[in-house]
Symmetry: C2
Subunit: 445 residues, 2 copies
């Protein structure tokens, strides 16, 4: 019955560059940001909220793209959407003039993620369920109908997709019960930003261990001597049995990646993440062969399902790191979860930023309950930043995401946060602009 | 001495969808468009003009991105730029906040192509040479310094790049003389758009043969029976000895591509172009193995040098189709030309659209003169649309591009064309808007 009546898309930016939260070898000064979509209906108690994550300048481009794409939702009946989110996806991806600007990548794809994330939030709220549960309760047939299987049939047919889902159907409730008891395991990246000094690194590693984390991730790739020293500090702080992961954020060429990772191998990292260009499938495969037993992880910049298909076909990765805001929401993420299940590679979602943790907890839980059926080698990222801006923030207890219970996809921000951090007119940014030199034409100073 | 003082970026759209020019299996109603960059200096006789090609809606996004990126050029000295276009490229690609929106793909990459195309046009005008000649006269060392070799060193080192260029150095003038005599060979796509009826196809094929073309390309992929009939008409019209190429514009999955191309093999196509997702390197390799001796061509949507590197490493293509507006101008195109030369795959540039022919003639000529040194298997695309809008339009004579002699990169449009087709305020669009139903929120009606 409820019908979508209006769309609002906001440019929201948090000044994280001031504290070097989020600093890595490629992104030294990101301001964690979001293109934030609000879908309202003629039922004033029902709205949908979604976002895609960005790091500052250019968020305005994503907002403009999302605003165009979201117009296609106006007039849609929410119950009809709920019954057929495959059609909603096909409608939103049907504009071939916009397609030219990707296709299926870059600004017009991540803006689509924001719009579709809001649409999925909306239908889950309408159903009165957290999104992971809405998905987990769908039939294998209906799930396969939602997944975008275009361009992947050489690796996964619709029948295979349904078979993977059907095999887990009878035992879903046991896995839900298990997660409701212990949560979904996560790791922390909070200690390891590249801009933090040794003392802060050591202190935060200690705090992470005290909080129960047994997986800790460190940014590397700017300077090898620094990396060796920081790895030593971290290994000392976390002990020999906990897991250390390394993240290079794409700074290396393939030969350099191999050399550098070998020089850090003595610290026994579980994985090296984003060792080179995210587009370099064959490069990742080469690196993986050379640096084993260190695993290779990538995917936060994997721009669509075709890239993940190939990473799996080429045996290029040990850990598949989907992103909730770069892939085109559930319709494309589900395809990647199915591919990973077929190729028997664990999915360890990328999170952090702003809102990513809120979103990926649903994906990790759904993956375990309905797609992979396994927790082996699985651990979702967690970063302790900016959760205070969310109405239903994720909750981590004993190094595990507590299973969400509120309806929706958890991405709704507080009105007060939107008022303060909307760019450039929110309270924070107008105060800052009047306090210092004028904001330049490109965006944040 | 001259210094860049101002940047203007225009949204220019031509209503090609009315005539179904440019219609293919994926893009049924494109309005050929451009994000068009004008760089002005304090010398009023010196300006640079560049563009990236789009097909309608969303051009505004590319314009906004280009406007941001081009700000970085303001204050640059044109002679300093001319001496070190590698630095200009690195400056324009240094914004890591914008990088997140790709990286190196989609809106922020094609907008960068527009800006850099204008910068290269500017320095070639300053040098008083057509761009192909400016490049051809650079030393191997200087050219290698201009090329973006990041992420390709596993396939091509800087030393190898210089060696490829140095080997051809002594014989450049012979190849220039040859092209000045006979031009650079091209093929035509004008007869083969999917929206044309059989009669128009037959007539245009006859005209192409009469004009001297021995390579003709046909759009396929919507309906197999139609394709078989249209291939038969074309083969009959062009005879057994001329070359027929097919272009599917990404409509197939891998297994379907193989099946469909086999069903058209009797018409002896030289290549099948874009048989599947442009991101599917391994898929193209599979298709190539299956459909030989039909060749595989792709690249117009190859979004950066890393994708081309892999297409070559995976032996996925027989013909490498660079695009002048999707790769980040000369700095990245040069890398792909060098990679193709090393892997011994002929480069056959994609053109058509608006302005692409004007641009790619420089690339094809430079490739022959200085990088590949060969014309074997090389033929550049030519489409006879919209050239009347350019100040220095490309000239095709006896199925070959006549070597350009005017300074610059040939992308400058007539002021009258800009005034008429600027969107949404140009004369054509305001007349059309008042003549029919209002233009909708998304862009063109």
């Amino acid at each position: 019955m409820p019908v979508i009546r209006a769309i609002e898309v906001l440019d929201v930016r948090f000044p994280t560059s001031l504290e070097l939260d989020g600093s890595d070898a490629m992104h030294k000064d990101g301001d964690y940001s979001a293109a934030y979509v609000i879908v309202t209906t003629d039922d004033e108690t029902l709205a949908g909220y979604g976002l895609t994550f960005t790091i500052g300048r250019g968020t305005d481009l994503v907002v403009a793209a999302a605003r165009s794409q979201a117009q296609m939702l106006i007039g849609m009946d929410v119950d009809t959407m709920l019954a057929d989110m495959g059609s909603v996806y096909r409608t939103l991806t049907s504009d071939t003039q916009l397609r030219w600007l990707g296709p299926e990548k870059g600004v017009v794809h991540i803006s689509l993620a924001a719009v579709l994330n809001a649409a999925w939030d909306l239908v889950a709220r309408r159903a009165g369920k957290p999104l992971w549960r809405l998905l987990a309760e769908m039939s294998p047939h209906d799930l396969a109908a939602v997944a975008d299987l275009r361009y992947v049939s050489d690796a996964l047919t619709r029948d295979e997709a349904e078979a993977i889902l059907s095999a887990l159907e009878p035992t879903k409730s046991q896995r839900i019960a298990h997660l409701e008891e212990v949560g979904y395991p996560c790791y922390t990246t909070s200690p390891g930003w590249l801009g933090y000094d040794d003392e802060k690194l050591r202190r935060l590693c200690g705090e992470a261990v005290a909080a129960g984390f047994s997986y800790i991730k460190l940014k590397v790739g700017a300077d090898l001597d620094d990396d060796r020293r920081r790895c030593a500090i971290t290994r000392e702080a976390i002990g020999p049995d906990r897991n250390l992961m390394l993240d290079a954020n794409q700074v290396w060429d393939v030969p350099q990646a191999i050399e550098w990772v070998k020089a850090l191998a003595e610290f026994k990292p579980l994985w090296i993440e984003e060792p080179t260009s995210p587009d370099d499938i064959l490069g990742h495969a080469t690196i993986r062969q050379a640096v084993a037993p260190v695993g290779v992880a990538t995917g936060e910049h994997g721009h669509n399902r075709v890239m993940f298909k190939q990473l799996l076909q080429a045996k290029a990765i040990d850990f598949c790191q989907i992103d909730s805001c770069r892939l085109a929401s559930i319709n494309e993420i589900l395809t990647v979860l199915l591919l990973a299940a077929k190729f028997d590679v664990p999915v360890c979602p990328h999170a952090g930023g702003v809102g990513l943790c809120e979103l990926v907890q649903h994906l990790a839980i759904f993956d375990y309950v309905a797609v992979s059926g396994s927790l082996d080698g699985r651990v979702a990222e967690y970063v302790d930043h900016l959760h205070e801006n969310f109405v239903d923030p994720c909750v981590v207890k004993d190094a595990a995401y507590v299973v969400p219970t509120s309806p929706g996809y958890s991405a709704r921000m507080h009105d007060a946060s939107l008022a303060r951090f909307s760019f450039p007119d929110g309270g924070y940014w107008t105060e800052r602009a009047s306090a210092e030199t004028p904001v330049d034409l490109l965006g944040t100073p």
